[in-house]
């Protein structure tokens, strides 16, 4: 039976989490242009990949906050580790209906300074555009609600020597996992198999919610002493093989944002 260890987590009226994978880099329309690229533009063409675990929850005062923890960054080694994430106002991007009621579909709506917003119904998508600049958010069903699953941004720019480039980024978000104030979603539970366990690999799963990337996985003994831990290894479900365990009862903990999920297993 999975339990939530954190008291504050238990007290929260909502908690949602998702893993964000972002690809970014500048893009050219013609690869032949690379012959004329300046050093910094050549560097900008490198595709960078980052992973973040984002959480949304209600704080002690009932405010909606969000924080993103870096799982895999694109910092150069000389920059050291990323600063710790800090919470800021923000609620989970969950909506009961997409597109919102009353919005005209498939026609650009003027926003200002030449920017338009278009809601597309066939693929639930909202697109902001001005010339070649675009910001497109794709929505998808998440349980009985809708959430943003992809964000693509493209801003054109001209290099110093006149070439046309686009600063491009594409963010994919795993389906949101968590629970809300109305109880629409049940609290996630962590499962571990096999249990009891011999020497086999453990398969860790947040039931029904693949794709979440825990920031840490730990194994503690019955007295709460840490026996083994590992840094982020990828998205759930995860396979792990804690070694050197004596027979007894142990607890697997996975950390997702400020939440700790745990489940006990027997080592025999």
């Amino acid at each position: 039976m999975a339990t939530l260890l954190s008291y504050s987590a238990m007290a929260q009226t909502s908690f949602w989490t998702a893993t964000e994978t972002t690809f970014r880099g500048s893009r050219l329309s013609d690869i032949a242009d690379t012959a004329y690229l300046l050093p910094w533009d050549l560097e900008a063409l490198r595709m960078r990949e980052t992973h973040h675990a984002r959480q949304w929850w209600t704080d002690d005062e009932g405010h909606s906050v969000t924080a993103a923890q870096e799982l895999k960054g694109d910092r150069d080694p000389w920059m050291g580790p990323a600063p710790a994430a800090s919470a800021q106002p923000g609620e989970a991007p969950l909506r009961a209906a997409v597109p919102p009621a009353g919005i005209p579909l498939d026609q650009p709506l003027e926003l200002g300074h030449g920017w338009t917003l278009t809601w597309s119904a066939s693929i639930p998508q909202q697109t902001y555009a001005k010339g070649d600049s675009s910001i497109a958010l794709t929505w998808a069903a998440a349980g009985n609600q809708w959430s943003v699953v992809a964000e693509e941004r493209s801003f054109p720019r001209q290099t110093l020597n006149g070439l046309c480039m686009h600063d491009w980024s594409f963010t994919e978000r795993s389906p949101l996992v968590g629970y809300g104030p109305k109880g629409a979603e049940s609290r996630p539970t962590l499962s571990v198999q096999p249990n009891p366990r011999g020497r086999q690999e453990l398969v860790l799963e947040l039931v029904g919610h693949d794709g979440i990337w825990p920031s840490a996985v730990r194994c503690v003994d019955a007295q709460g002493r840490l026996t083994e831990s590992q840094p982020p290894q990828g998205a759930l479900p995860l396979r792990w093989n804690p070694v050197g365990l004596n027979s007894g009862r142990y607890i697997i903990q996975i950390q997702i944002g400020n939440q700790t999920y745990s489940v006990a297993f027997i080592q025999h």
Binding site: L28, M79, P100, R153
Partner: protein
Amino acid sequence: MPSSSHRADSPAPIALVVGLILSLTLLLSWSAAAQPCSNPASLPAIEAAPAVRADFVPPTGSLRWSNKTATNGDRIVHFIHGLGGNADSWNLVAARTAAIGTPGYPAREVVYANPPTYLQTGSTLDAAMDIHGYLTATGGPLSALHAIDVEDNFMVAHSYGGVLSLLLDSLYDDPQTFTRQFGGIVAFGSAINGAYLAKALHPTGDNLAVAFVEEACRALSDPRLVAPQFPALRWIPGLDPLLRTSVDNACGLGSSFVPFALKKFNSPGMVELFPSAPLAQRLGKRTPSVPVVLAYGVEDEPVFWRTATSMYRSDSVGLALANDPFSMDGDGDLVTFATQQHDRYANQKAQALQRAANYRLAAWALSPTLLGSLIAEWQAVVAEREAAAADKAARWYRDANDSYKQLVGARVMQVNAEGYWCRCRDEYNAPTWYPVNDPADCFGDGDCLTFPIYEYQLVEKPSDGVVLAESAGILNGAVASVLMPSTNHQQMRNSSVTKSVLNRVMNGQIPGGAFFATPTR
């Protein structure tokens, strides 16, 4: 005054210049307009394989000079500065070598000679001849006064000074014209096989000094950024007027942000340091006629920010250097600054994106009133633009190091074709991308398109932040190539590693370098 009356009487040149400027402006405007950013970018960003580190292995030293020793008694060590330097550059080290010493660096039996300043606005031959003039006019008589054979004297030269010393050595092979003035050379960070940076910066090369600054200004001057801070990178106080004007025009920042202010970087002599130039080709392959010890620096990452820190610090000789001329070890100030600025802008980007998300949710709540909803959506776009500006600034602080290493020749990026991306998309699902070897293999649900895949091959080479190790550390017939670890081009004149190298050289501890052995006082 004659000059002013001349100007007043001759308005034609002024009109010509104004006309030329207007023409250039029009041409630039036309050029910009001729290639508008109107075509959507179709190629995915390029993937990069892990960088290959091409470590430098110094050649085995020559024992050819093992039996050459100096005659007993005093000698003169001529300290020769590098590009942009002057007599003060080596003065403290020269003084401590001849007298007083400093902890861990005993004074030697050396007659003090004030280091020279040489001509830097001409060719390398002009500069070498100027040094030769000093050696004959000052070094010669001083040697005679102390009964020193001039060929017992040796040169300790930094950077360009080492190139000039080797050039002089080649000139001295002609005894009809020249009388040899020294018997050995210790060269610190000298681009004897050419300097990519010289080609990258020089107006007749790639002319990228101004472009580097302009790019930084474009990234860091966006009005959407919160209180932009520019790195303090004034490499040399006497900024070249041409560069200053260009930077002022581009950024309007005056001298507060001017990397590459390598004084005289555009002097004619720099052209001769292009790796492909005849001088660099010849000097690097010539066997010197005297014992030569090469010292080459290998700086740690980030090479650019560390080198810039040392360049900035050496604007003035501070109290620390006056107390100990080998105290220029720390070079992390701008590393910390660049990391902080990157994180600051990355945080601004994250906050702006979250603000955009919040505005979108507000727009949802306001959707029954279309106008209110659209105002909130517009605020989301404004926040998105701020995030894009902050992202660009953060990327500049991260990527400046890699861009700079390309200029130095320490990072080579080659683009290779690696098959095709197949992109399929129907009206219901998000697009899928997968790689194929042949465009004919690209098919699936909906419309499919192929795009060539390109991958970067990255090769990184060790450098001191200005000169590659392979340029400063290879010379046929050299006594030794001595590594100076964690040392950048500017530090190698005044760091604790410099002290160690000079001690080893003058202790006679370099195999084959007995000539340089100089007793302590």
